[in-house]
């Protein structure tokens, strides 16, 4: 008897330590078992929370977790290597994706052009009937090239072409150039898609280069000295090409003047002002003419004054000194008397 009661007592003690697995809630919870998620829509008890915040939250969390685990036990379970595993259903909650949505594939240059112009791709048949050869010729492959050879056994020499020129060789060269160009464009499209920088091709052909290209070439060539073009002479009104910073040695994208203190800047400014003010004035015809007019006007005014003044002025004039030579102002007329004649 003793043993039995002891065991019972022990189990009772143990069970009192743990809470029951059943939890009462006013409103049923909403589960998303697959993502182990529970929504509790029951009212939040502010009174309990104020009394013992930590304890209340802990209780709430335990109860809800208990309910979630109860739900898990209702799922079909199986045993894998001594562990009980529940099979989760598909998740109901939509979670945002971790990584950004992949960008749509970038169009190639031709695709872009075709889209702009509304050009649609036409399906070509693999075989086409050749009237000249009287047989079906495939679109590509060795049979096609054979057919071409058969068809073009003779080529016309254009009217204004060099008669000694080999038209067949010319045709093969142009074809191979076309292929090379196509390959270059393909590679360029790949580079563009993968965001790889390709080195710029310099001036391709001086015969077809535009003035802009030439200007760029000059700008780059000038900077390509050991001192980065610091001592290169400039032509009057020469302009530097824009948009060539990437290929110009020593050029940075945005050139900023180095910061200097206010006093230094002031001195620099004063130097500039000095250089402007000390410029020798150009000979200005308009200006000299206007000056001439001014002096003439002044002269006539003084003469009029003299006439008006009459005798009084004359007397004063007599009293004053004789006018000295080479000090009087010339009244208009010729500038420069020329050679003195004897």
């Amino acid at each position: 008897m003793d043993v039995v009661s002891e065991v019972l007592q022990k189990s009772q003690e143990e069970s009192s330590k743990y809470k029951p697995i059943t939890v009462e809630k006013h409103i049923d919870l909403e589960y998303d078992v697959a993502s182990l998620l529970v929504y509790d829509f029951n009212q939040f008890n502010a009174q309990y929370f104020e009394r013992d915040a930590n304890g209340y939250l802990l209780d709430l969390a335990r109860d809800n977790t208990q309910l979630l685990i109860n739900q898990l036990w209702e799922l079909p379970t199986e045993r894998v290597e001594e562990a009980i595993v529940a099979k989760l259903p598909l998740p109901k909650t939509v979670l945002p994706r971790a990584k950004p949505v992949p960008k749509p594939k970038e169009l190639t240059k031709w695709e872009q052009f075709a889209k702009e112009k509304g050009i649609q791709k036409k399906k070509k048949s693999k075989l086409s009937w050749d009237d000249q050869l009287q047989k079906w010729v495939p679109l590509f492959g060795f049979k096609r090239s054979q057919a071409e050879k058969e068809k073009n056994w003779v080529l016309e020499v254009p009217q204004n072409a060099d008669p000694t020129e080999d038209q067949f060789a010319k045709k093969t060269v142009s074809k191979s150039e076309n292929v090379a160009k196509n390959e270059l464009q393909r590679l360029r499209n790949i580079a563009k898609r993968r965001n790889i920088k390709i080195p710029r091709v310099g001036l391709t052909n001086p015969e077809v280069a535009s003035a802009k290209d030439l200007q760029a070439a000059v700008t780059v060539a000038k900077a390509s000295t050991a001192s980065l073009g610091k001592f290169q002479d400039r032509l009057p009104k020469e302009k530097e090409a824009t948009g060539v910073t990437t290929i110009t040695p020593g050029a940075s994208k945005k050139r900023k003047l180095p910061p200097v203190s206010g006093d230094v800047e002031k001195k620099q400014n004063l130097d500039v002002v000095e250089s402007i003010l000390n410029k020798r004035p150009k000979f200005d015809v308009e200006k000299s003419v206007s000056k001439q007019i001014q002096t003439k006007l002044d002269l006539t005014e003084t003469i009029q004054d003299r006439v008006k003044g009459g005798r009084k002025n004359q007397i004063r004039n007599k009293a004053s000194k004789k006018p000295k030579g080479s000090k009087g102002q010339r009244a208009g007329g010729k500038i420069g008397a020329g050679r003195k004649r004897r």
Binding site: L257, V260, D263, K266, V272, I276, E286, S290, Q294, L297
Partner: protein
């Protein structure tokens, strides 16, 4: 916001020299501290160094204006004086033109000054020199370019243009958005 390059400084001072001649030095050498010219979005600002220090704490793109705007560089690299510079230039002006009260409004609407509207003109004004336009009560109204020298002015008939309009204080209302 950055310092003016040497070329641009030259262009700016050449323009100012047309109006105030050797008095540019007064703008640079001031007894009340260091003033300098700064460029922001092709506009030139005349700023005291104290304000400049504050402005340096801000990213340049966010600055709309600082100090006084003197004018702007056009796309072809010329400098255009704005009316906002009037207060700094008026005291040092060399060629002055006074308008009759009847011609004031005409000028303030952006028209050239004719001989009829000319009240007074300072002596020895040269042709195509920068001129300051005043009302008869000595209130600066704007800038212009003398179309005739002082001597020529006396001879011409009353309808000829004496001063080409460049900017006037009417612009504060007319082109409020462009002035900064």
């Amino acid at each position: 916001m950055r310092r003016l390059s040497e070329d641009r400084t030259k262009v700016l001072f050449e323009k100012l020299a047309k109006y105030i001649g050797p008095n540019i030095k007064q703008l640079i050498e001031r007894p009340d501290g260091i003033y300098c010219f700064r460029e922001q979005k092709n506009r030139v600002y005349y700023v005291s160094e104290n304000i400049l220090k504050f402005a340096n704490t801000m990213p340049a793109d966010n600055i709309i204006s600082l100090g006084t705007c003197f004018g702007k560089f056009t796309k072809t690299g010329k400098f255009k004086l704005h009316i906002t510079a009037l207060n700094y230039i008026a005291p040092y002006a060399q060629c002055k033109i006074w308008l009759k009260s009847s011609a004031e409004q005409q000028f303030l609407y952006g028209n050239n000054v004719t001989k009829a509207g000319l009240g007074r003109i300072s002596e020895n004004c040269e042709k195509y020199q920068g001129a300051l336009v005043y009302s008869m009560s000595d209130l600066p109204l704007g800038f212009g370019v003398a179309a005739r020298s002082t001597a020529e002015c006396k001879m011409v008939d009353p309808l000829t243009v004496v001063c080409f309009h460049q900017s006037d204080i009417g612009e504060y209302i007319r082109s409020e958005d462009d002035l900064l």
